[in-house]
């Protein structure tokens, strides 16, 4: 029974992972990633980490993937054009390299692991022991993660913020030395050699 569940979800994870990588439309890629994350969450539960399985579904499938979808739809990204010219060689080389890499990694894992693992103990599964480890031994790291998330949120807000509107800078414009803050409509700011291409792309879409 356990082997059957593992086989089903391992197959599901690998198949949807290939779909993530192979599909040209990023929306479908993201949806396949959700399937992969769910399958891996099931495997977490089977490995005696139910808390991590729940966190995986909540944080990854619930928050991060929604963030991805939001950005994809905000930017209105089209499916990639077919690769032209030298892209094919790059693709074949990277697939070959990935296969060799997987083989080597798998071989190392296979060699180092003993075939029979110890039975699942109650201490490993219990949430109490996990939280004790988390909040005693790794308390500093936990606090640091909280700080990191705060910094990341502030940084993301600052980076993604729309540049200041022109109406707040009318006084500057009148005085002649306007600060370059109108990034939203900034065709002149773009590198001259790529500016025409950018304009052409914007006109097409």
């Amino acid at each position: 029974m356990e082997t059957l569940v593992f086989a089903v979800f391992a197959f599901l994870a690998v198949a949807s992972a290939i779909a993530v990588v192979a599909h040209r439309n990023p929306v479908y890629s993201t949806m396949s990633l959700v399937v992969t994350l769910f399958s891996v969450a099931v495997l977490f539960v089977m490995l005696g980490a139910p808390f991590l399985g729940v966190i995986q579904v909540l944080v990854y499938a619930g928050a991060i993937v929604v963030l991805f979808l939001f950005v994809i739809m905000l930017l209105n990204i089209q499916a990639e054009e077919m690769p032209q010219g030298g892209q094919m060689a790059q693709r074949i080389a990277s697939i070959l390299g990935a296969v060799v890499f997987a083989g080597m990694l798998g071989l190392v894992f296979w060699r180092t692991m003993q075939p029979n693992s110890p039975p699942l103990t109650e201490e490993l599964v219990s949430l109490r022991n996990l939280s004790r480890e988390l909040f005693f031994e790794y308390l500093l790291a936990f606090e640091m993660i909280g700080l990191l998330l705060l910094v990341a949120v502030i940084g993301a807000t600052v980076v993604a913020r729309r540049p200041q509107q022109a109406d707040t800078t009318e006084d500057w414009a009148a005085s002649g030395d306007a600060p370059r803050v109108d990034g939203a409509r900034s065709e002149p700011h773009i590198n001259p050699e790529t500016g025409d291409r950018v304009a052409a792309r914007a006109g097409r879409s």
């Binding site: 990588v21 005696g48 991060i64 990639e80 296969v99 490993l124």
Partner: protein, 100 residues
């Protein structure tokens, strides 16, 4: 009883798929998705090792990795939005301002 080695093999496979995706895709968001896939494969192997050695340390590390992945996704997607505003594309072959 599924041996832990199978989980490790699956994790290696997922990691390799993610690597191939990160190398071949040209859409910045898709590259990002592939990196998330690689992070998840690493998480799977960490949990498998925690199971093998009957220790919680691997699970704690996975917890931290997830938090860092969330932060990374937020900052990275914000960067993509900023780049898209300036260049009207997120094709990673065209975002070459910092290439020397």
């Amino acid at each position: 009883m599924v041996p832990v080695s199978w989980y490790l093999l699956l994790s290696a496979l997922l990691f390799a798929i993610g690597t191939a995706g990160a190398l071949t895709r040209r859409n910045g968001i898709s590259v990002f998705l592939s990196i998330e896939l690689m992070l998840n494969a690493a998480n799977l192997s960490l949990v498998a090792f925690a199971r093998q050695f009957d220790e919680h340390t691997g699970q704690v590390i996975v917890f931290f990795v997830m938090a860092v992945a969330a932060a990374e996704a937020a900052v990275g997607l914000a960067l993509f939005i900023a780049v898209y505003r300036q260049r009207r594309t997120i094709d990673i072959n065209r975002i070459n301002l910092m290439r020397w």
